[in-house]
């Protein structure tokens, strides 16, 4: 049978601009097969890899949609006209005014239909493809997936590398830092050579070198209530690699509002935590921690230190969870909190239940939009000390050079003192100050210092309240001293 096929404008580029073609065939399938034989580029636009019509392709025989006939087996007669009609659909995908819910993880599957792997990619991912849990279908899902990593530091490094290696098609990274020497102990994305360079630029180069088949989107900005929804909206899975509470609550709330899973990880010294907070299916971060800890109670890695391997372990666990969510298989850490102790080498999981009273994912949510997270976490700027209570490293140096009597009080810990200290200083760690007031001079001026000026400011206030008046805080601490006065003092 000779039938006519009419093509939509969009496909005519593949048929040398012909909009109608005459082909032979007894069924729609045969006629379309002839068409694709003639114009092979049409194949991927019309059919999925397993030979089904793509869901956005409608085929009409004369004026009947073949879906209501015998689909591709619909017989055709001499002179019939087969018309390919685009399915035109879409939409904002929002549900009411909650800030824009996404399509959820189901969208990955729909997108994966349209994805193909090149021979190079098939070779690259062969160890995935031969696993029955992954296969070609799973690898296409990975390629169709979009994962956002918040933070390109200790957790973000292994995360980004494993997700890139695994073939996640689009990886977004949010960070605004430059590479610092103190990062290199754990942030394996960067090399010594990268110090001083923007992290995202280096990360992008490194990840592209690892896998040129993927896209890396970079957002060189601080994630804030103003930009979070817009940035997160584009992604299927969000991975939280941040190191502070305001951003952690922000990421959680934005994920709940957008209906996206949040792969959480956190690290401190020897201990790590990981979970998947997905309010559609389980608890969120607020169900576990309704309130942030009081400011200053939980030190950051910069203050408390972290074993360099720990973010590698927790970050790799987060990458593993993200991949399972994308594949839609396995048992994700939803409703479970993994606790890891690297010192004792123990893994434990505890159950986390969805809190019906949760202010954002509970039955009657009171939080319907992003809030001010700095305020929520009580991260107010330190009260400023009166100017006469401060001294810069250069001013201190001048006074010492003039031979003035100054009592230098170091309030850091003994192991910090061992790294470096100012000549002639006296060490009294901060927590011993109250019991050691009698050791302080009452006539000489006291200059208090710590690493960067925070702890010493607290000590200064304490001394002031105890009646001391000839006291000053060293602005920027020994760290600024090393930069501005004496480069032989090591920074840490």
């Amino acid at each position: 049978m000779s039938v006519k096929i009419s093509l939509p404008t969009a496909l005519r580029r593949y048929t040398a601009e012909c909009d109608t073609l005459q082909v032979e065939g007894r069924t729609v399938r045969e006629a379309l097969a002839r068409l694709v034989e003639q114009y092979p580029d049409l194949q991927r636009h019309l059919f999925t890899e397993d030979g089904r019509l793509r869901h956005f392709v409608n085929v009409y025989v004369n004026d009947e949609d073949v879906r209501y006939l015998q689909e591709l087996e619909t017989p055709v007669n001499e002179g019939d006209e087969i018309t390919i009609v685009p399915s035109v659909a879409g939409g904002s995908g929002r549900v009411s005014s909650d800030g824009g819910r996404s399509e959820g993880l189901a969208a990955i599957g729909e997108r994966a239909d349209a994805v193909r792997l090149s021979p190079e990619e098939i070779l690259r991912y062969s160890r995935h493809l031969i696993m029955p849990e992954v296969t070609m279908e799973g690898q296409r899902r990975l390629k169709a997936a979009r994962v956002l990593i918040v933070g390109a530091g200790g957790l973000g490094s292994p995360l980004a590398m494993y997700l890139a290696a695994a073939g996640v098609g689009r990886i977004g990274i949010v960070d605004f830092d430059v590479v610092d020497f103190t990062n290199l102990q754990r942030q394996v994305l960067y090399t010594t050579h990268d110090v001083g360079q923007p992290k995202l630029q280096k990360a992008k180069e490194r990840l592209h070198a690892l896998n040129p088949h993927i896209e890396i989107e970079t957002y060189e900005t601080r994630l804030t209530s103003a930009n979070a929804l817009e940035i997160l909206r584009e992604y299927d899975v969000i991975v939280d690699g941040t190191d502070n509470f305001p951003t952690r609550y922000l990421v959680n709330d934005a994920c709940v509002l957008l209906g996206k899973p949040n792969v959480y990880g956190s690290i401190f010294r020897f201990e790590g935590q990981a979970s998947v907070f997905y309010a559609e299916q389980g608890p969120c971060y607020r169900c576990l921690y309704p309130e942030p800890p009081p400011p200053g109670l939980v030190p950051s890695c910069a203050e408390g230190g972290v074993l360099g391997v720990l973010p590698g372990i927790i970050g790799a666990i987060q990458a593993n969870e993200a991949i399972k969510l994308i594949l839609g298989r396995g048992e994700p850490l939803i409703g479970r909190l993994l606790l890891f102790d690297a010192w004792r080498m123990q893994f434990r999981t505890v159950k986390v239940r969805k809190d019906p009273q949760c202010p954002i994912c509970g039955e009657q949510p009171t939080i319907r939009e992003l809030i001010d997270y700095e305020e929520f976490c009580g991260v107010a700027p330190e009260p400023v000390l009166a100017e006469e209570l401060e001294i810069t490293p250069r001013q201190l140096k001048e006074r010492l050079d003039r031979g003035e009597q100054v009592f230098l009080l170091d309030v850091r810990e003994p192991h910090e003192w061992q790294i470096a200290h100012l000549p002639g200083a006296t060490l009294i760690p901060m927590n011993r100050i109250p019991a050691s007031l009698h050791e302080l001079p009452t006539t000489d001026e006291i200059v208090v210092y710590c690493k960067t000026g925070g702890r010493s400011a607290q000590v200064l206030r304490f001394l002031y309240n105890a009646g001391f008046r000839r006291i000053k805080n060293l602005k920027g601490g020994i760290d600024r001293w090393a930069v501005e006065v004496d480069p032989s003092v090591p920074r840490y």
Partner: protein
């Protein structure tokens, strides 16, 4: 690049405002001149997604077939589509991407609290990975 007159642009915005809080949609008919699509007619169509019209749209294939035949008979072609995003930005959602065809222009108008804001045009990348913004020429 896509070219349309200020009146056509206004018509697209008005249609989005009238449809608010639902999504409004329609077809762009015209012709192609080199790299530029020239819009000649704006044809609003009913939103066929009655189950969730505030955040989804669909143009019934039969309606599109009818418009396409009518356009061809008059020497015009379907060169793209437009739809509105009520209370959302004029950028494609993942849902738009899943359903997109190559080559066509997808104009999106953002309508916030019943007032139209920005209009942007988007074209699917050849590998279907994402949309790229297309320049709109007025005049």
């Amino acid at each position: 690049m896509i070219r349309l007159t200020i009146e056509q642009l206004e018509a697209i915005k008005r249609h989005g405002e009238r449809a608010y809080p639902e999504e409004g949609c329609g077809v762009l008919l015209g012709h192609v001149d080199g790299d530029t699509k020239i819009v000649e007619e704006i044809r609003p169509t009913p939103n066929a997604r009655r189950d969730s019209p505030h955040n989804r749209y669909a143009i019934a294939p039969a309606e599109l077939l009818r418009l396409e035949r009518e356009a061809r008979a008059r020497g015009r072609e379907v060169i793209g589509f437009f739809h509105s995003h009520p209370d959302a930005e004029a950028r494609p959602s993942s849902h738009d991407l899943e359903h997109a065809w190559p080559w066509y222009s997808y104009l999106i108008v953002s309508v916030k609290r019943a007032a139209s804001e920005s209009v942007h045009s988007w074209v699917l990348r050849e590998d279907r990975s994402r949309f790229e913004q297309e320049e709109i020429l007025i005049g």
